[in-house]
């Protein structure tokens, strides 16, 4: 555990002081124009124009990284009034424009809640709003008490309050989503709540990747179960690495974790980019090919080889909400921490 704490804290380089936001006003504006409504709703254009706690959480994090207080306030307004209506103070996971009521399923998605809390913490740091800090601390407290479960004996993130506790088919082990380990948030949460060991949760996330590295595919499925010292795809979910999992290398890089964890993901990519992977065979199913995703692959290459990312991936492409979101998060990290990957000389 001590080793991990050192690893996380020593390597932590999430949002260091930076003269100007790493996300430019122009590209942020194009993101707002494409995906954020005037009411502050962050719209998943690839998914029937719904919104979810995850999209709102990404919106808050990005608005804070772009240091855009008006947009942050808009997005927070929508998030709080329309989604944070659960009795436990967390967010309902989905908001549908055409449904009445718009929230028909009040289950939460834990990564969405983590992103919202993290966005509030970034905003609190940036603008000195104690109210944001208080709200984030309450959410983190609730998550720490209600949404951490033992998985094969290790503290793990339950993906939602309902439906993931596991059953006979999982030998009673919970169903997990490895991409819900947003590593940069965990040391922050740990410092907020003296009772919950969020760093141990981070260690579980890495353990999960270690176990996956010994499977045929080398990388975890989007939905997994840990049992008996091993990891396997969750029953009733496709045995695939896909659009969920592509965030894992992004989160690893943003948290500044050991590049060795990136290697299995890098190995499954090719010069053409990332792929959905069949976990049983390790074979590629189909490419994941928007520029936002390709930047993640190019960044892994840069981390491993020093090869700068291709020129055309250095500017935001608003192809879809999800790809653009990941691209901005990746660009933010490269500009702050890895200018060499953008051909800008040595790291500052």
């Amino acid at each position: 555990m001590k080793r991990l704490a050192t690893l996380l804290l020593g390597g932590l380089m999430t949002v260091p002081a930076f003269a100007a936001p790493a996300i430019t006003p122009e590209e942020w504006q194009s993101y707002l124009d494409a995906y954020v409504s005037p009411e502050g709703r962050v719209i998943d254009t690839g998914n029937g124009n719904i919104s979810h706690s995850e999209s709102q959480g990404y919106g808050l994090v990005l608005a804070a990284l772009a240091e855009d207080r008006p947009s942050f306030d808009r997005i927070l307004n929508f998030t709080k009034t329309e989604l944070m209506i659960r009795d436990d103070g967390l967010a309902a996971w989905r908001w549908e424009p055409d449904a009445d009521p718009h929230v028909t399923d009040t289950n939460n998605a834990t990564d969405g809640d983590m992103l919202i809390a993290y966005g509030l913490l970034l905003a609190s740091d940036l603008w000195g709003e104690t109210a944001f800090f208080t709200e984030a601390a309450a959410m983190v407290g609730t998550m720490g008490r209600n949404l951490l479960v033992p998985a094969d004996g290790l503290p793990a993130i339950l993906p939602g309050t309902e439906g993931f506790a596991g059953n006979d088919a999982t030998a009673g082990q919970p169903i997990l989503n490895p991409s819900y380990w947003i590593f940069e948030t965990l040391p922050r949460f740990d410092s907020l709540d003296p009772v919950i060991d969020w760093n141990a949760v981070a260690e579980t996330g890495l353990e999960l990747l270690r176990r996956a590295s010994t499977t045929p595919a080398g990388i975890p499925g989007d939905w997994v179960v840990m049992a008996g010292g091993a990891i396997g795809p969750a029953p009733d979910f496709p045995a695939e690495f896909g659009y969920n999992g592509i965030r894992i290398p992004l989160y690893l890089m943003r948290a500044g974790l050991d590049p060795a964890f990136l290697e299995p993901f890098r190995a499954k990519a090719s010069s053409a980019g990332l792929f959905k992977i069949d976990l049983a065979t390790g074979n590629a199913i189909e490419p994941i090919e928007e520029p936002g995703y390709r930047l993640i692959q190019a960044a892994m290459e840069c981390v491993a080889t020093g090869q700068p990312v291709p020129e055309e991936l250095r500017t935001l492409q608003t192809t879809s909400y999800y790809a653009a979101t990941l691209q901005l998060l990746m660009l933010d990290n490269l500009r702050r921490q890895r200018p060499n990957c953008l051909g800008l000389g040595a790291q500052s």
């Binding site: 009411e39 808009r74 209506i85 009521p101």
Partner: protein
């Protein structure tokens, strides 16, 4: 209003005038005052109010008074910014105008408010005007963004408390509605507790949603309190009515009474009536609760006054249901007078039949007898009762004509048989004989028709036919077998069970045993081996071990089911017979339906038995057997719950299938007795007592005693 003022005083606010009320969940006092001069003194807050119309958990989390809660914006040397003040003035928002004046006075003691805030010499800060425009339009996200923009441009800018409070209140309202829509009721309560300013008569929807949240979280009394608060304090008539409607949907009748008491000027008359109507209608449902007599009276009074046929019929059926047929007749007659229709006539017909006036029923129903199957059935019952009435009525040609017409059109064997007896009673044995033949042609196993045929053949001196009927029917009907055998009338019955003290003690088990012994054993032995549609899972060694029905083949399940019946486990047998119904084999299915019906009979569930019997075609013999058993059950259970008229009807129906045993004859006699038809009771008790049946002897004594006392009065 007095109560509200008191409540507000209790939390430390005195107000010169109030036009809008606020629920004291913890109150923003300023939203309450609409106009008038600023209060000259604000008394020190006394301890928190304990008497509140609606209490939430939030008593201790009252928001701080706005005027002192927030650090004032730093006064600038140049004097106050009057933008907001002028804005409110332009909007005609006198509440906010006054508050802004008070706020600026607190900040700038030497400042004087402008004599005319509407003068145009003042150049407002357009960015603040814009923010207020956004707030007024309900665009709180936009307002927040605009405030952030203004702060970025002018770091010294501090929005007024009024502005931030207004936005927070608007956001809380949106959250409250979203949480309520999503059914997150605890959260609704929590939001309301933290934003009590939402709970005003001006936003009665919020109060409704809070009331619903309380009720849905089992805090019914608090929900009732919220409605009560609205009805005590809010004045908008349509909203008051809607409040009561919502309460009606969510609260039970008893909880509504105190709310209805808050009625002003008869505003809830239609609701009260609707509630009464619901209560009466609910009584007619299965296990329905008895309505309050006030409700019945209210509905009756209104229905009679308004000549509302629908309500009159409802009341009629309600009275029938509680066995008050003459009250029922009064309502149905009123319904029929205002709305002469099949629906009115049908109710009237039923009431008249129950009042033992079948001829009047027949007359009321005749016009509508072809309208629908329900009324046709009631009509045929009335016609049959008219024909069967003792002493026989002289029925006019016209009426007899339409009864005959209906009988033929519907091929109603029962009615045909009654026509036979009617003709026989009027000394027309040839006509009678033809009707009995017709009845048997329509329903070959109709014993009373066969008996009638025998009687009329006998009257016509056709001894050959009498004997032929005895030969074909003797095995099925004691009275046919013994027809003409005078000794049989007095011979002690060999199969009749021992005398019982009261017919009410007839048990289902006894009934069932009779039914069971008649056939199923043979059925099991004769048919079960040939049954079975598929392979797999025979019953093997008996049925002591539980086998899930679906683990057996249909044929196996059938054998298993009969075995369970032998062990007297009818509830389990029901399921196994059900499985056997899956068979492709017609004989197996028929056997299964029969067995299942028998099992229900043994469980004392006649209605289920009747349904089960219809699941597959049965032989006539089994139909008769089951019907007899089912109707016996129905008669005894009707008697047991005091529905004597129904018991008699069931016995009459049963008599169509089998001769009445002594125990059932005694049941019939006791039924007459309870209906105070002592003479008929006495006649039957006497006949049965003559056979040495003990229970009948005590009944005979009782009937004679009642007759004597009736005569002596």
């Amino acid at each position: 209003m007095k109560r509200l003022a008191l409540t507000l005083c209790l939390i430390g606010i005195s107000l010169p005038a109030m036009a809008q009320s606020v629920a004291p969940f913890g109150v923003d006092p300023m939203t309450v005052s609409e106009t008038g001069p600023a209060p000259s003194t604000v008394p020190a807050p006394p301890p928190f109010a304990t008497e509140m119309p609606v209490q939430t958990e939030i008593g201790t989390t009252l928001p701080d008074p706005i005027l002192t809660a927030q650090a004032p914006a730093q006064p600038s040397a140049s004097g106050p910014d009057e933008t907001a003040l002028r804005y409110f003035a332009q909007q005609g928002d006198t509440v906010r105008l006054q508050r802004e004046i008070e706020r600026l006075r607190a900040l700038y003691p030497n400042w004087q408010p402008p004599a005319d805030p509407l003068t145009t010499d003042f150049v407002p800060d357009q960015s603040i005007v814009r923010i207020w425009d956004l707030v007024t339009a309900g665009d709180y996200a936009g307002a927040r963004a605009a405030i952030a923009e203004k702060k970025a441009a002018d770091p010294s800018f501090v929005p007024t408390a009024d502005l931030t409070e207004t936005i927070a209140r608007g956001e809380a309202g949106t959250r409250l509605r979203a949480a309520s829509d999503a059914g997150q009721y605890d959260e609704v309560i929590s939001i309301a507790a933290n934003a009590p300013q939402l709970l005003t008569c001006a936003s009665v929807d919020n109060l409704w949603r809070l009331a619903e949240a309380f009720i849905k979280t089992d805090a019914t009394q608090r929900g009732t309190d919220a409605y009560s608060y609205i009805l005590t304090n809010c004045t908008d008539a349509p909203e008051r009515f809607a409040t009561m409607q919502k309460a009606t949907d969510l609260l039970d009748r008893a909880a509504l009474t105190p709310l209805l008491a808050l009625e002003k000027d008869g505003e809830f008359t239609t609701l009260r009536l609707d509630l009464a109507r619901r209560a009466v209608a609910a009584a007619l449902e299965e296990d329905g609760a008895t309505p309050a007599s006030d409700d019945v009276d209210l509905l009756a009074k209104s229905a009679m006054a308004d000549k509302n046929a629908e309500d009159l019929r409802l009341l009629g059926y309600f009275e029938l249901d509680r066995n008050r047929p003459s009250e029922a007749r009064r309502f149905f007659e009123a319904a029929n007078a205002t709305d002469p229709s099949a629906a009115s006539a049908q109710g009237l017909g039923v009431a008249l039949v129950q009042l033992n006036d079948p001829a009047a029923a027949e007359a009321a129903l005749a016009e509508y007898r072809d309208d629908n199957e329900d009324i046709a059935k009631v009509y045929r019952d009335a016609a049959a009762a008219t024909l069967a009435r003792e002493p026989r009525l002289a029925i006019s040609e016209t009426i007899l004509g339409r009864i005959v017409e209906t009988t033929i059109a519907t091929r109603d064997a029962g009615l045909a048989q009654e026509l036979g007896w009617y003709a026989y009673a009027f000394n027309q044995p040839q006509t009678a004989l033809e009707w009995f033949q017709t009845a048997l042609g329509w329903q070959a196993d109709l014993e009373p028709a066969a008996y009638g045929l025998m009687v009329s053949a006998n009257a016509l001196g056709d001894a050959a036919r009498v004997e032929e009927i005895r030969r074909t029917w003797g095995g099925r009907s004691v009275r046919i077998a013994q027809f003409g055998n005078l000794t049989s009338l007095t011979a002690p019955p060999s199969v009749v069970p021992l005398p019982k003290p009261r017919p009410a003690h007839l048990t289902q088990v006894q009934t069932v045993r009779v039914a069971q012994q008649e056939a199923p054993r043979q059925v099991k032995q004769a048919e079960a081996p040939s049954g079975g549609g598929g392979g797999g899972g025979g019953s093997g060694g008996g049925c002591q071990t539980f086998r899930p029905p679906n683990s057996l083949s249909p044929g196996g399940a059938l054998t298993h089911a009969w075995c369970l019946m032998d062990l007297n486990r009818p509830a389990q047998a029901v399921d196994h017979f059900g499985r056997a119904l899956d068979s492709a084999n017609q004989a197996t299915r028929s056997d299964a339906a029969y067995g299942r019906a028998l099992a229900f009979v043994r469980l004392g569930l006649p209605d289920e038995a009747a349904v089960a019997a219809a699941a597959a075609p049965l032989s006539d013999k089994r139909v008769v057997e089951l019907q007899t058993a089912i109707l016996t059950l129905k008669a005894t259970s009707a008697y047991n719950i005091g529905k004597y008229q129904l018991a008699l009807a069931m016995l009459d129906a049963r008599a169509q299938y089998a001769a009445e045993r002594n125990d059932l004859l005694t049941l019939r006699a006791w039924s007459y007795y309870h209906l105070r038809r002592f003479r008929e009771a006495e006649r039957i008790f006497a006949a049965v007592a003559a056979t040495g049946y003990g229970d009948a002897v005590s009944g005979l004594d009782a009937a004679r005693a009642s007759l004597r006392s009736a005569q002596s009065q």
